[in-house]
Symmetry: C2
Subunit: 351 residues, 2 copies
């Protein structure tokens, strides 16, 4: 199959560190190549792929301080893809709604995976304007605010099977992994760890937008005994960090559309204790790969129960449900459906 | 003529206070209606116009704190305009490059006025991708970074003839009007005024993005004797403010594509002393409506000369060159050229 993947230019594919969307696009792209498909990746020129890279700008925009107006480049990219549409059997966009208008006016089947939250007021007019554009959600929960859009599949994210594996370790602390921002609630994680009488290690990025929040609200909490802040980590340190933990705390306070950190934990056999928001109930199997809790009190109770879970069973569930291979196969099934649906159908004899 | 004006949703048309692009769109729209044309204005619902308002979102986005992703609404707006394109003779966009791809694929003539600077690196791939999309510059200087684009006209902005008129006053201070930001160089204006031994009144907005710059760099300078900061002002106070000044100081340090403040001064008969950057040499007539200077020293010299200029001659030049009526007529000439150019031409007999 001739497949175009069209990525944001914000981060390289894959990104050097944090950057959920571009990491998922990379994993999907590499699996599709591995499965024998002819894949073109439209992305920043510092991307690294076994697919055919179509560089749309030399450097990822987060690193390129000279670009003030990223959308200029994204709009030019969409035009470039449009002009080459006939070279592909399917085009897979990861650019929110930007390609909807233009791609609705050409013949190659296309689909868009929405990677973000959809509960903002401005989303309603967009999806009402484009009721027939085919969309993929990354969880069923993500769809809730826009139930009437043309959802053609939910495809949960997946990780390369061997990216993260359980490492030998004696679990001794609770873990928080991700980004420091108000909706990720690292403050709740600190309180839960304190109430459990366990140390907490925090591996997290602080975006510039969250610097004030970090300095004013979170930094004082890091002084508490047993709390350790280790900054942003890559995959190498991540598997050690996750394997050495008793549980991953995910006390989120927003409708997270997926939550890669939960499947990263599972890949290392680590139980997840997560608040019941957004996609959590689709990802965590309560009592198997972790516990779904409603508040800090029930989180404390759940931490006391995680020793009863089998870390090897958690890894097995990861392999069954959340590998990049499974994700790629789900997308291939969808691509075939869309391609078949777009073919001119043989006319029935009219009566 | 059936004309569509398509405005950004950022500010109402016209905006309550600052907001250059939307003010110009408003003046153009109202003049076109006045001249008897059938005008539809695609804009935020809190816009006020004698044209047919097509509200694309209830409130301007700067005031609507609930919208985090303004482009969602702009992309939906462009799709709505596309679907109605056949209802218009000409469509005039004020949305940068966003409509280029889509509108290139329909039959109604369209044109885009570029309101911003074009010297950023990301502009090259955009305009290289769309070499035949018709563009209007708001000064010849604005075109310089992208000389190969399809420029079909330069149309200087204009003000409604009676919006600002000279008021009786005995000029007694130098004036700075606009926005506090590093490239507007209010610090240079303060030094020039001090070297001239004249008071400086500063009527300016401070954007949130410039709050640190204002507090750290500019606020201490406002303590100096003779410097008065009066904040943001509307048109009523503006004509009094400008009429009472000896000269307007425009010590800009960036390639300003137009600079409305200069023609606002001229409308009040106020001489302009402006640095030779961007559009300045097209707007200020050296020795007639003001002086074009190269640095602070030559600005000080020019201030000493402004008494030799005739304030009524400045007002006359404003009426000849920078009214909204003149702007509307320039645009109508252009619309007619584009409509005639788009008509299928009668074929010549072939030899």
């Amino acid at each position: 199959m001739r497949i175009a993947q069209i990525a944001p230019l914000t981060e390289a594919v894959p990104p050097p560190l944090y950057g959920g969307t571009e990491r998922v696009i990379s994993w999907l792209t590499e699996e599709l190549v591995e499965l024998g498909h002819d894949v073109s990746l439209f992305a920043s020129g510092d991307s690294i792929t076994a697919a055919r890279l179509e560089p749309m700008w030399p450097r990822s925009l987060r690193l390129d301080g000279t670009v003030r107006d990223p959308n200029a480049l994204h709009m030019a990219m969409i035009e470039q893809v449009f002009r080459r549409a006939s070279q592909f059997d399917i085009m897979h966009f990861h650019l929110d709604y930007y390609a909807f208008s233009l791609m609705s006016r050409q013949a190659t089947p296309f689909v868009t995976t929405l990677h973000g939250r959809l509960d903002l007021p401005e989303h309603h007019p967009v999806f009402a304007t484009f009721p027939s554009v085919p969309l993929v959600s990354i969880s069923n929960a993500q769809r809730r605010p826009i139930p009437t859009a043309n959802w053609v599949a939910t495809v949960h994210h997946g990780l390369p099977e061997n990216l993260l594996r359980p490492q030998p370790a004696r679990p001794s602390y609770l873990a928080f992994l991700g980004r420091i921002s108000p909706e990720k609630r690292v403050d709740a994680a600190i309180r839960i760890a304190q109430r459990c009488g366990l140390p907490l290690k925090i591996a997290a990025k602080v975006d510039r937008a969250d610097a004030d929040y970090f300095n004013e609200v979170i930094r004082p909490l890091l002084e508490a005994p047993g709390v350790e802040f280790i900054g942003e980590i890559g995959d190498d340190r991540k598997k050690v960090f996750l394997s050495g933990a008793i549980a991953l705390l995910v006390p989120i306070d927003w409708p997270e559309p997926f939550g890669l950190v939960m499947i990263e934990a599972m890949a290392c056999g680590l139980p997840v204790v997560a608040f019941n928001r957004g996609s959590v109930a689709e990802i965590v199997e309560d009592g198997v790969t972790g516990f779904i809790v409603e508040d800090e009190t029930s989180a404390v109770g759940a931490v006391h129960e995680v020793a009863s879970l089998s870390r090897s069973a958690i890894r097995t569930r990861f392999e069954q449900r959340f590998t990049a291979r499974r994700m790629a196969q789900d997308y291939l099934d969808l691509y075939r459906r869309l391609i078949d649906g777009a073919k001119p159908r043989p006319r029935l004899a009219s009566f």
